[in-house]
Symmetry: C2
Subunit: 199 residues, 2 copies
């Protein structure tokens, strides 16, 4: 067994754990289910992760963090009109979502709502990712102000916070209604707000 094989089982565990947590929440996620799905034994799991909590932490640090980069942070680094970039990134993220993903919601927000009140370890890790997300939006607004594309009266930090809240809010509403149409209508409201930020 090479070290690459060991790493493969570790990643398989993380992938399965992410799925299980995404579908059931962390507290209701079953280690036995994760083991069944991967074919890994309990001994192997506890060799790689010292507890269920550590497994959950690593899912945030590695899997969810990577998805945030891929779907939001990297796309937001494009050059162009900041408001247009923001709208396009949101639209692309929305179109990328399957019906099932709309129903399951935002993995980061799910964990935040469930775990932040009851576990500081989760809260801090989630907070770090939210800060990165927030910073990405804030940077777009600051750049937009410097290029004259965004009204100079808007507070970049506060506005970025509200945009982030609205994105999660729209996803949350659509999650409960289980309706793609409602997600689109909600996003239209968000786009309407973003338009008011232009100079």
């Amino acid at each position: 067994m090479t070290m690459a094989d060991a790493d493969k089982t570790r990643l398989a565990l993380l992938d399965a754990a992410y799925e299980e947590i995404y579908r059931n929440g962390f507290q209701s996620a079953s280690l036995n289910t994760i083991l069944q799905r991967t074919g890994v034994t309990k001994g192997a799991l506890y060799h790689h992760f010292s507890s269920k909590l550590k497994l959950g932490y690593t899912v945030v640090d590695e899997i969810i963090s990577h998805k945030l980069d891929e779907d939001w942070l990297t796309p937001m680094q494009r050059t162009g009109h900041p408001i247009n970039i923001l709208i396009e990134v949101i639209q692309q993220a929305g179109q990328k979502m399957t019906r099932e993903e709309i129903q399951l919601g935002c993995p980061l927000n799910n964990l935040a709502q469930e775990m932040s009140p009851i576990d500081p370890g989760f809260r801090q890790r989630i907070d770090l990712l939210y800060r990165q997300w927030h910073q990405g939006i804030e940077r777009l607004l600051i750049d937009g102000q410097q290029s004259g594309a965004v009204r100079s009266t808007v507070n970049p930090a506060d506005t970025a916070l509200f945009i982030l809240a609205s994105i999660e809010g729209c996803l949350g509403i659509a999650k409960n209604s289980q309706s793609i149409d409602e997600l689109k209508r909600c996003a239209e409201g968000l786009f309407g707000y973003l338009e008011t930020l232009r100079s």
Copy 2:
């Protein structure tokens, strides 16, 4: 033992169940904890509620529904400038929240995010409350358009949906950051948006 006594234990169970669910989510809510806190026995609980699921449903139908009326629907029925009413109701709801409640989030949204993907019974009941909430906001916007206080170009239904999403989004962000200041800054963003709706 009078019928009033029986109703008292039923309500005690509902109150304790609400608290337990609010703090831990439905799936992780422990019936034994609810029984300990109330001093009620398991036989009594299952006399009043045929299952944990039915207990949870009743918490939504009676406790959470009542809180929605009290904190949002009734205050929104005041007369005056619709946008002002909306801002005031949001501010009052925010000020009413304790530090702990900010940390625990919106009871309705918590349940929606946890249960809507995995149980249709919860989903439908939560959806009903969200529709009432949405309708209350929509009505304010329609009234505002008729009185000339709100721009005629805004779509009341879509805008109400986005406002609702933003409220829940702001509460969700504040829940994770556990910061009253961040809740206020996020709400300021929302108020800024609401201002753009005026004629």
